[in-house]
C-alpha cells in the first residue's frame, strides 16, 4: 500500500535543483525567510541556485548585496535578531573569511552571551570543496574552523535528497547553521527528490552502504569517493560500511558507536588538509570511547597539508586508490 510519503511526486533532481526547491518551499511557507548574498537576485547566484527566486519573491526577500561578506553575515546576524530567518549565500566558502568574524564572534556566541535571550537562527549556505578546477581560493573545505566554534551547527550533504531535507531542517533550526554544499557534485549526482517540504534531521548520520569488515566515515562529496573505494575492495571480498555523517556539529555519536562495534576497523575520509582536520576529532572520539572494539589503527585520509593547488588538484584530493590503501592498512594491521 502506498504511504503518503510515497505518493508525493518525486523528481530526479540535481543538488542545485534540490537546494532551490528547499528554498522555494520554505520561503512559501514562512515569509520571514529571506535570502541575501552577492548576485543572487537577477543573476540567480553564480551556480544558479537562486535562479528565478527574485521574480517569485521580490527584492525584499531575495536581496542582492554589495560585495562584502562581512556585510552579508553581519546583516544576517542583525536580521535574525529581529525575527527574520536569513539564508545568506556566500559565493564560495573560501570567501566566507571576510565574514568569518561575524560568524564566529557574533552568530555563534549571541545566544550564550545573552544567556539565551537573543539568538541567531540563520543559515549560511556556500559551495565548498575541490574537483572543479577552481584553484586554491575556490576549492577549500574549511569545516574544521566552524566545527570547533561552539554555537554553530555544520551540515554537509552528499546527495540531492539529503540536501533538500537538511537545508529545510537547517532553516527551521533555532541556531546558526553553516550549510556546506559540495560543488563537485552540484550537478553530477542525482536522485529522487520529493516535491514539498520534508526534513532530514540534523545530527543524524546515514548508513549509505552496509558492510562488516571496515567502517568508512565521511561526508559531502567524499562519500562518493568512499563508495568507489568500497567497490574496489569488494573484489577482494572486503565489505565496507560507508557512513555519511551529514551533520558535523553535532555529529552522530550513536551511528559511530554502532559501526565501530560492528567492524572494528575505521577509515576516516575528508577532503580538507589532514592536520587539525575534523576527522581528527572523530578519531579522538573513537579512540576515547570505543578503543575496545578496534582491531586496527584509525586511518585518516585527507588532502595533503598544503594549500589547495590548481593544476595538481587530482594529485591533491583523496581518491579511491588512496582510500583503498587506507582500508588495507587497517585490515592488515
Amino acid at each position: 500500500m502506498a504511504t503518503a510519503q510515497a505518493e508525493k511526486k518525486q523528481t530526479t533532481s540535481t543538488m542545485v535543483q534540490a537546494v532551490r526547491s528547499a528554498l522555494i518551499d520554505e520561503m512559501s511557507r514562512d515569509e520571514d525567510v529571506v535570502l541575501l548574498g552577492e548576485d543572487i537576485g537577477i543573476r540567480g547566484g553564480v551556480f544558479l541556485v537562486t535562479e528565478g527566486l527574485i521574480d517569485q519573491f521580490g527584492k525584499d526577500r531575495v536581496i542582492d548585496t554589495p560585495l562584502a561578506e562581512l556585510g552579508i553575515i553581519g546583516a544576517a546576524v542583525g536580521m535574525s535578531l529581529y525575527g527574520l530567518k536569513p539564508v545568506a549565500e556566500i559565493q564560495f566558502i573560501d570567501f566566507l573569511f571576510p565574514g568569518f568574524d561575524m560568524l564566529v564572534s557574533e552568530a555563534a556566541k549571541m545566544r550564550y552571551r545573552s544567556a539565551g535571550e537573543f539568538a541567531c537562527p540563520m543559515v549560511v549556505r556556500s559551495p565548498y570543496g575541490g574537483g572543479v578546477r577552481g584553484g586554491g581560493y575556490h576549492s577549500q573545505s574549511p569545516e574544521a574552523y566552524f566545527v570547533s566554534t561552539p554555537g554553530l551547527k555544520v551540515v554537509a550533504p552528499s546527495n540531492p535528497y539529503d540536501a533538500k531535507g537538511l537545508l529545510i531542517a537547517s532553516i527551521r533550526d533555532p541556531d546558526p547553521v553553516v550549510f556546506m554544499e559540495p560543488k563537485k557534485i552540484y550537478r553530477a549526482v542525482k536522485n529522487e527528490v520529493p516535491e514539498g517540504a520534508y526534513e532530514v534531521p540534523l545530527g543524524k548520520a546515514a548508513v549509505t552502504r552496509e558492510g562488516k569488515h571496515v567502517s568508512l566515515i565521511s561526508f559531502g562529496a567524499m562519500v562518493h569517493v568512499g563508495l568507489e573505494a568500497a567497490e574496489l575492495v569488494k573484489k577482494d571480498g572486503v565489505e565496507v560500511e560507508v557512513i555519511d555523517l551529514r551533520t558535523l556539529q553535532p555529529y552522530d555519536m550513536d551511528a559511530i558507536a554502532k559501526t565501530v562495534a560492528k567492524t572494528g576497523h575505521v577509515v576516516l575520509l575528508q577532503e580538507a588538509p589532514t592536520i587539525g582536520g575534523f576527522m581528527g576529532e572523530i578519531a579522538a572520539h573513537i579512540a576515547e570511547h570505543h578503543i575496545g572494539y578496534l582491531e586496527g589503527p584509525l586511518v585518516r585520509v585527507g588532502g595533503w597539508d598544503t594549500p589547495f593547488p590548481y593544476a595538481l588538484e587530482k594529485a591533491y584530493m583523496p581518491n579511491a586508490e588512496r582510500v583503498k590503501r587506507a582500508i588495507q592498512k587497517t585490515l592488515n594491521y
Binding site: P66, I73, G83, Y112, A115, M253
Partner: protein, 366 residues
C-alpha cells in the same frame, strides 16, 4: 530647530557656560523634561563612579568609564522608543540605563551575578535585555555595526515604524565593519542612526593618527548619507540631532551618521594608564570648562530652575539609589557552575549532554 548636516563646527544649543542659544525653545522640551534630563546626567555619573570603584576595590575585573560622555549617551538615548533597537559597545552604559537597564542589573553584570541579564557570561562591558531591545555587545570593536544595519534592514522589510541606533567610538571607524555597515545602510535606506562617540582617543591613539579626515561626520558623504557633527558635551544639541535623525529614519528617509565630539575623563579602561599619552592640561581643560553636567546645570540655573539646595538633594538621592542598586546586585547569587553549558545552543547537543553528565558528577549534582 533646524539641524544641518556637514557643518564645520559642532552643532550646539548651549554655550560652554550654559548660556542658551536661540534654538533652545524650539526643542519643545518642558521644564519637567529639562529637569529629568539633568537627573539622568547626574545619575549616570553616579553609577559610573561607583562602577569604577568596584574595579579599584578588586571586586570587578574591568570597567570602561563614561565620565565626560554623559551628554552624548543620555542625549542620544532619550529620543528612542522602547521598541527601537540599541546596539552598544564597551562604553554604552549611560544609553543603556536610559533605555531601561536597571543600575542593579548593571552592577550585577560587573560582579557576574545572576541578576546580570547575561548571567555572568561577558567581560563587564554591557549586557543585553531582549524586552528592552538592547543587544549585548561583544568585545570585538566594530562588530555591532553591520549587525545593527541588518536589524534596521529587517525593520524596513517588515515595514515597522521602528528604528535602530548603533554606538561605536572613533577607533571603530577604522575597522572594515564601519565602512561595510555605512555602505549597506545607505544602499538599503535603512532606518538607522550610526552614532559615533568621538572621545578623541582609541585607547592611546589620537584621532589624527586614526584618520586623516577632519571629522568623522564627513565620511558619510562618501556613502551617500548625511553626517552630523554635534557637540557631544551639549546634551540638548545631542538630543536635537538624534531626534531629527530618528524622526527621519521613522519616516523612511534612511540612515544618518552622527559624530558626537566629546572627551573621556578616565583612562580607556581600568587596565589603562592615560597619563602616558594625554598632553598636559588637556583633561583639566575639558573637565573644568566643558563638563556636560555643569554646562547643563548652568543653563538650568540661568532659567531659575535650579539652585544649590536642589543640587544637594539630587546628589543625595542619586547616591542612595546607586547604593541600593549595588546592594541588590550583591544579594544576587553567582550563576551555578552547571549553567556554563547552557545556551551555546537552544538545546544541549548530544556531545554537550555527555559533558553535562561529566560536569554534574564533578559537582556532585544531577
Amino acid at each position: 530647530m533646524t539641524v544641518t548636516p556637514f557643518t564645520d563646527t559642532p552643532i550646539k544649543v548651549l554655550e560652554y557656560d550654559g548660556t542658551p542659544g536661540p534654538d533652545v525653545d524650539s526643542l519643545g522640551l518642558s521644564k519637567d523634561e529639562f529637569l529629568s534630563i539633568y537627573r539622568w546626567l547626574v545619575y549616570a555619573r553616579a553609577v559610573d563612579d561607583r562602577g569604577y570603584i568596584l574595579v579599584r576595590q578588586g571586586r570587578s575585573g574591568f570597567y570602561a568609564q563614561i565620565a565626560g560622555q554623559e551628554a552624548s549617551q543620555i542625549g542620544s538615548a532619550l529620543p528612542l522608543e522602547r521598541t527601537d533597537y540599541l546596539f552598544g559597545d564597551h562604553r554604552s552604559q549611560g544609553s543603556m540605563l536610559v533605555k531601561g537597564l536597571r543600575a542593579a542589573e548593571w552592577f550585577a553584570h560587573q560582579l557576574g551575578r545572576m541578576l546580570d541579564p547575561s548571567k555572568g557570561r561577558l567581560m563587564p562591558h554591557g549586557p543585553g535585555r531582549k524586552d528592552l531591545r538592547i543587544v549585548p555587545p561583544s568585545s570585538t570593536v566594530g562588530n555591532q555595526i553591520t549587525e545593527a544595519v541588518g536589524t534596521a534592514m529587517a525593520q524596513k522589510i517588515k515595514k515597522t515604524k521602528e528604528m535602530t541606533i548603533c554606538y561605536f567610538g572613533d577607533g571603530a571607524t577604522s575597522e572594515g565593519d564601519f565602512h561595510v555597515g555605512m555602505n549597506f545602510a545607505a544602499v538599503y535606506g535603512s532606518p538607522i542612526i550610526l552614532f559615533c562617540q568621538n572621545n578623541q582617543y582609541a585607547i592611546s591613539v589620537r584621532l589624527d593618527e586614526q584618520t586623516h579626515t577632519k571629522t568623522i561626520a564627513e565620511k558619510a558623504k562618501a556613502y551617500g548619507m548625511e553626517g552630523y557633527l554635534v557637540d557631544g558635551n551639549d546634551v540638548l544639541a545631542v538630543y536635537a540631532v538624534t531626534k531629527h535623525c530618528a524622526d527621519k529614519a521613522r519616516r523612511g528617509d534612511g540612515p544618518s551618521l552622527i559624530e558626537a565630539y566629546t572627551y573621556r575623563y578616565g583612562p580607556h579602561s581600568s587596565a589603562d594608564d592615560d597619563t602616558r599619552y594625554r598632553p598636559k592640561g588637556e583633561l583639566e581643560m575639558w573637565r573644568n570648562e566643558r563638563d556636560p553636567i555643569t554646562r547643563f546645570r548652568r543653563f538650568l540655573e540661568k532659567r531659575k530652575l535650579w539652585d544649590d539646595a536642589k543640587e544637594q538633594k539630587l546628589q543625595a538621592e542619586c547616591k542612595a539609589e546607586v547604593a541600593a542598586a549595588l546592594e541588590e546586585a550583591e544579594k544576587s547569587p553567582a550563576p551555578e557552575p552547571i549553567t556554563v553549558l547552557d545556551d551555546a545552543y537552544e538545546k544541549l547537543t548530544p556531545q554537550l549532554e555527555w559533558e553535562r553528565k561529566e560536569l554534574a558528577a564533578e559537582l556532585g549534582i544531577n
